[in-house]
Symmetry: C2
Subunit: 252 residues, 2 copies
């Protein structure tokens, strides 16, 4: 049951994809912290490919929001703002409610077993590092998405889950993984019972609690970019080199 085939679009199993996967994993396991530099040369050398390939991989990851690409500058691991992190979680909640809505009562016994096995693995990993726990928890959600057999849903859930993973490494306090594991079990149970409303509520609460527990302080601004902080003030500066921000409603 391992090795689910990737969708025909993107991830063509060539060298670019290999590097993408490696970097993605390094990022979500926090081996590469937000803000870490990713020079094309270094990547190419490390993975034994040319700069062209490394560059292409960075482009893909940028499209996923995991790295930031600035013209003529070294690419860096993305450093989402607190608001972006919250936005990502909001989107994730809706997407994953959709996942469990589609899955409720539709899972085979072997699929339930697979889910339980994954949570068991999460349980066993409790003694390990936070990074591994977070990765496993994320993969549980992606596993669920895979079971919808909707490539689009898989892609979006994966992406947004990775982004959330990334933000956890920025804003999270050392959080307990136990309750998350219990919530995973509860979700599996509700899915098996086919209790659509309940499982949607469970998923909603699960993600929301992870988000609110993790995204505590509105402004730790650890590695935050000065440019972000000063952006609101730039309006009053009269220079055509200042980045123009579109005027928009910032919801509460």
């Amino acid at each position: 049951m391992a090795g689910r085939a990737s969708s025909k679009t993107s991830e063509s199993s060539d060298k670019v994809s290999v590097i993408c996967r490696a970097l993605r994993r390094a990022i979500i396991e926090q081996a590469l912290e937000p803000g870490a530099k990713l020079p094309e040369d270094a990547l190419g050398e490390r993975f034994g490919v040319s700069r062209t390939i490394a560059r292409h991989a960075l482009g893909q990851l940028a499209a996923e929001g995991l790295v930031e690409l600035r013209r003529n500058r070294i690419a860096v691991v993305a450093t989402p703002s607190w608001q972006e992190a919250r936005d990502a979680f909001d989107i994730r909640i809706e997407l994953e409610r959709l996942v469990v809505r589609q899955l409720a009562g539709k899972l085979s016994k072997s699929q339930i077993a697979e889910l339980n096995a994954h949570v068991d693995a999460e349980d066993r990993a409790r003694g390990g590092t936070d990074a591994v726990s977070i990765r496993l928890a994320t993969e549980f959600h992606i596993l669920l998405a895979h079971m919808t057999n909707s490539p689009i849903l898989v892609r979006y859930v994966s992406e947004v889950a990775y982004r959330c993973c990334l933000t956890l490494s920025l804003y999270s306090r050392p959080h307990s993984t136990e309750c998350a594991i219990n919530e995973h079990r509860a979700i599996i149970a509700a899915l098996a019972r086919g209790d659509e409303a309940k499982v949607m509520e469970l998923m909603h609460h699960h993600l929301d609690s992870v988000a609110t527990r993790a995204l505590v302080a509105p402004a730790p601004q650890r590695g935050r970019d000065l440019l972000d902080i000063l952006a609101p003030y730039a309006d009053e500066v009269t220079s055509d080199r200042v980045v123009k921000l579109p005027k928009v409603a910032r919801r509460g």
Copy 2:
């Protein structure tokens, strides 16, 4: 108010992005039909860049699901299956409900005016081609997403809307755009009133009706890939060269 700045991630305003935008537009306006071939050489020559750049652009569009990349084969405009189209609409409904939920009662007068102006433009374009009408309707939704000021939400709504746009060209009958325009006006009104529940319901109904109206026949299979059509039959073929499908629950 035009020229909303693109997010710092992806769309770096270099040559690759230019080509991406051009192709994206060509695809959603059906100048390039699903299945159309996109050789790197031809693209490069057409846009006055090298194959490297054209290739990179194709990679980005593949990540968005607008083109399909097969190893050692010419890239083609994506040809989503009917099920994928339905999945895209389901996701879109959830995302856009989130958009209007965040926006209800939070829009400034000038933003309301901008939305109305856009719908006016849709109205004026009723006499034109279907392609333009569809593009404008799509851009209305993307305009809404922009107003949330959430780059992530903008990206996902844009992507999924483009994908839906693409599927419309595959499975849609010549549909009337009038009711869609009226529904857009109703949504604006509900947003201005700040009626959150109502606007979510309106958006849901709007998209759902577009989807069900458009995705009528489960199998028009115009330019559909034989491989997709025959996939269910491949199970009975005993050969290790047959593409293995993971066994999953296909929800009703």
